[in-house]
């Protein structure tokens, strides 16, 4: 029997020693790794291009300074050999001079407080973000930052990667100080810094003061003094929101630009987001943009409907952003509201623009409506308008409004035949209910979108006869689909939906419901629920005309839209004053895919060349410029005429893409003998060493 333990327990393997060459190479390569890491550490990830300034005054004012293209051009021309700098203003004003990699080269106190503070710090050689953090921390420890004085103003002058530094700094300060400080940032050119030096004031404060249109400052001014002036200079309107039957109306106050001392271009952006913070942080979606000159009439309201892309039942936060000619961007107060369900029918194809009085074509004769009950129908008649610009007649009904008109009260029929002057309306049409009294009217619609409303008549809708022959289509409206009225009892029907995508538009159609109890169709869609229904999934269209059995939905306006995503659609039919809801089948449609990504860039190898200098091989190769690059493996072999990494090991591992040459002492290479031939190649590694590309081979004779 073989006793393996007796042999294993006494087994001992001779020790081997690494060569000095290996140790030296290893130390050299690790040194390169450390160098690369240091570089990477300095390159913080990019943050958004707009640098924000938070000025939490009573009105929740937020200001952002734009690094506009104009400023960038100035930066480009003004940057010279002088070092760039960050300024830090609390009350102590410190100038942090940095090199091209944002490493601190010197600290300069710009007032007495700052001079004292700077003496306590040793930040030379540190990344700028670390140094600024230490300055703020020290200022706080010395009592310069407290409940009354919370502002910290950071200025970036001639800084090429200010976003990275500011991003890193913001995170640090937020984590350490939270609400104890209010961080402001401004951005400028070295030229502006030089001007500030000439005036013996902080460049950051000077930049801020220029936003306040020339507030005089000296080097003992505090940031809040300038911010106060700034707030007095620029302001944002006060916003309010009201619910209407059509949706929401946002209203805002007019601004007095004259009193503000500002003239020029102003842009209002109506913004919406899921959170108040997004609105305050200027990151909300812009729904509408108005650009005007200070002398122009100011818009003061904006109407939002479910067609605006905000689903009924959805709560959103709204704000109005004001941009002052590429100088400042502010947001005033934030309001929130839930988009109501829109009860009145709305046709997606119909114009919703109200006319301006001068644009409204006048009917040839005063529009007049008469009406009567005839049998089981209401008959509405109106005066014909033969003008060419007439698009049609919108038949309008309202239980409560004695002067209903389109579009405010929706419509129940749209008649495009200009010769039609009457209509017979039965219960169920457009949601009319038997036994209920309505105000009926007709709104004349013109090609330019303008409307003229006629008078209204009040009539009670009679019950409809139950025989099919009595449910024929109104004679005056031949284009209207006949309604097949079901008795007002029995099962409530759902309807089947089908659809297809036409670009980003979903074309949907469904079966008509003929039921006297019918209220309307809720067109429902969801990207997340494969069996959507109203009210759980909201709705995108509310159609009360039973005969309207198709619609189109611009999917890009639907929350959750993404190229290639699957959306589920259904129709929920509502009955009996919305008390009964019946949802039919679901149809899924795939959104069009995003354009194919460009083919990925091929991985390149690099060509090597070289020569012998005594027993030293001098090698050089072409530089690789590829984000996926990991490093160069310098490979050599005395036995393999086509060496590559990893099969042939390597002599140098170089992670700096710009280093494209090296020297090898060949006497330290395994296999070296005088007169032998050695083969060299470069293997380029990519994507975390997953991809290896070896270029050409050269052979060099050893001396």
């Amino acid at each position: 029997m073989f006793d393996i333990d007796a042999y294993l327990d006494t087994i001992a393997v001779k020790e081997v020693s690494p060569s000095d060459t290996l140790i030296n190479k290893t130390v050299e390569q690790c040194g390169e790794v450390m160098k690369t890491k240091e570089k990477e550490r300095k390159t913080a990830k990019q943050i958004k291009k707009v640098v924000m300034i938070a000025v939490p005054a009573a009105a929740l004012l937020l200001i952002g300074i734009f690094i506009g293209s104009q400023l960038n051009v100035l930066q480009g021309t003004a940057v010279n050999a002088a070092s760039a700098c960050f300024t830090v203003d609390i009350n102590p004003s410190v100038c942090v001079n940095v090199d091209e990699e944002s490493i601190v080269t010197s600290l300069v106190g710009q007032n007495k407080d700052a001079a004292d503070l700077v003496e306590k710090l040793d930040c030379i050689g540190e990344p700028a973000a670390d140094a600024i953090y230490e300055i703020v921390d020290e200022a706080k420890a010395l009592g310069y930052i407290n409940e009354e004085n919370k502002y910290v103003l950071i200025g970036c002058f001639g800084i090429s990667d200010e976003d990275a530094t500011i991003g890193s700094l913001q995170e640090k300060l937020e984590n350490s100080f939270g609400d104890m400080i209010d961080l402001l940032t401004v951005s400028g050119t070295l030229e502006e810094k030089t001007q500030a030096d000439t005036l013996d004031v902080s460049a950051g404060l000077l930049k801020l003061s220029r936003m306040a249109q020339g507030v005089d400052i000296d080097n003992e001014d505090k940031v809040e003094d300038v911010v106060g002036e700034l707030k007095n200079t620029y302001s944002a309107p006060t916003l309010s929101v009201n619910e209407t039957k059509d949706g929401l109306v946002l209203k805002w106050t007019k601004l007095d630009f004259v009193a503000m001392g500002y003239s020029g271009e102003v842009t209002y952006e109506i913004a919406a987001a899921d959170t108040a913070a997004d609105v305050k942080n200027l990151t909300a979606s812009v729904l509408k943009r108005y650009t005007f000159q200070t002398g122009d009439t100011q818009n003061t309201s904006y109407k939002l409907t479910p067609d605006s892309g905000i689903l009924s039942g959805t709560k959103k936060y709204y704000g109005i952003y004001v941009k002052y000619a590429n100088v400042a961007k502010l947001v005033g107060n934030v309001v929130s509201a839930v988009m109501p369900e829109v009860a009145a029918p709305k046709a997606s194809a119909s114009p919703a623009v109200s006319p301006s009085p001068t644009q409204t074509p006048q009917p040839e004769q005063e529009p007049t409506v008469t009406g009567r009950v005839s049998g089981d129908a209401v008959v509405i008649k109106w005066r014909q308008d033969t003008s060419e610009s007439l698009s049609g007649y919108k038949i309008v009904a309202s239980k409560t409004n004695p002067n209903p008109r389109y579009p405010d009260d929706g419509y129940i029929k749209y008649i495009t035949n200009k010769d039609t002057t009457s209509i017979k309306l039965y219960e169920g049409v457009g949601g009319l209910k038997a036994g209920k009294t309505y105000y009926f009217s007709v709104t004349y619609l013109y090609e330019n979108g303008s409307t003229v409303a006629a008078n209204a008549v009040q009539l009670k809708v009679p019950s409809k006869a139950k025989t099919p022959s009595e449910t024929a289509a109104p004679p005056a409206e031949p284009t209207t689909a006949p309604t097949q009225a079901a008795p007002p009892s029995g099962d409530y029907a759902s309807t089947s939906i089908s659809g297809s995508m036409d670009g980003n538009t979903a074309r949907l159609s469904w079966g008509q419901i003929d039921d006297a109890r019918f209220d309307g169709y809720k067109v429902v869609c969801s990207f997340s629920n494969s069996s959507p229904s109203y009210p759980g999934d909201g709705y995108v269209k509310w159609i009360t005309d039973a005969s309207k059995t198709s619609c189109s939905v611009d999917m890009t306006k639907i929350s959750g839209y993404a190229p290639g995503a699957v959306c589920y659609f259904a129709i929920t039919a509502l009955y009996d004053g919305h008390s009964v809801k019946k949802t039919g089948n679901t149809v899924s449609l795939t959104m069009p895919a995003a354009p194919a990504a460009p083919e990925s860039q091929p991985y390149e190898s690099t060509g090597i060349s070289g020569s012998m200098d005594g027993s030293t091989a001098r090698l050089s190769w072409g530089q690789i410029n590829d984000e996926r690059f990991d490093g160069y493996k310098v490979v050599c072999s005395f036995s393999n005429s086509s060496p590559s990494y990893p099969n042939d090991g390597y002599e140098r591992w170089i992670t700096d893409a710009s280093k494209t040459s090296c020297s090898l002492d060949m006497t330290g290479i395994s296999g070296y003998t005088p007169g032998a031939t050695c083969y060299f190649a470069i293997t380029v590694l990519y994507d975390g060493h997953d991809v290896k590309k070896t270029g050409n081979t050269i052979s060099l004779p050893m001396p």
């Binding site: 081997v16 099969n647 591992w653």
Partner: protein, 206 residues
Amino acid sequence: MNFYRHYSLCIGKEDAFVCAHDEIFKLFIKGDRQAMSILVETYKRELFNLCFRLTFNKQDAEDLFQQTWIKATKNASRYEHQSFKPWLFKICVNQYRDNYRQYVKRKKLMKEDFESTSAKDYVLMTAGGTDSVEEQYERKHIQALLIANIDKLPQPQKVPMVLYYYQQMKYSDIAGVLGVPEGTVKSRINTAKKKLKGVLESELYV
């Protein structure tokens, strides 16, 4: 830096490195090249022997040695205050696992199986003085066979065998390096031993 002065005073003492232990790691983590250089120098023999015993090929061992240090340098910030050597060995073993397929493929391609005739060069004679010359020769022959066959074991069994028998590590330390429970280490070693026993019996007693 005071540390280097302190370290230079420690050189020559048995605990030269230990006396400066904490400081050197702190500096290494911060990216100090001199600290890295001292660490490479301090651990070069132990680490290179592990590399060699895992690969039994000088070139592969050198690659593995360099890769281990490069990875350790890259991941220095992840080093917490556990013992440095197990951390370094763990990196080495993980790198070996990553390279394992390449080694196997390479050996097959180059028909460079580590044969017992080569292994004999690495067997250190530790037999007791009572062994006769013949017995010593026999022991060396069998141990060379064992070394050659341990090298051919699948990686999950080979690594614990190398750490246990060649590096003289404890089960608990091996478990730490491999990131598996101690029982798993024992079980893998037993499986390896059974396999080796079968192979050697067939080679020795045919």
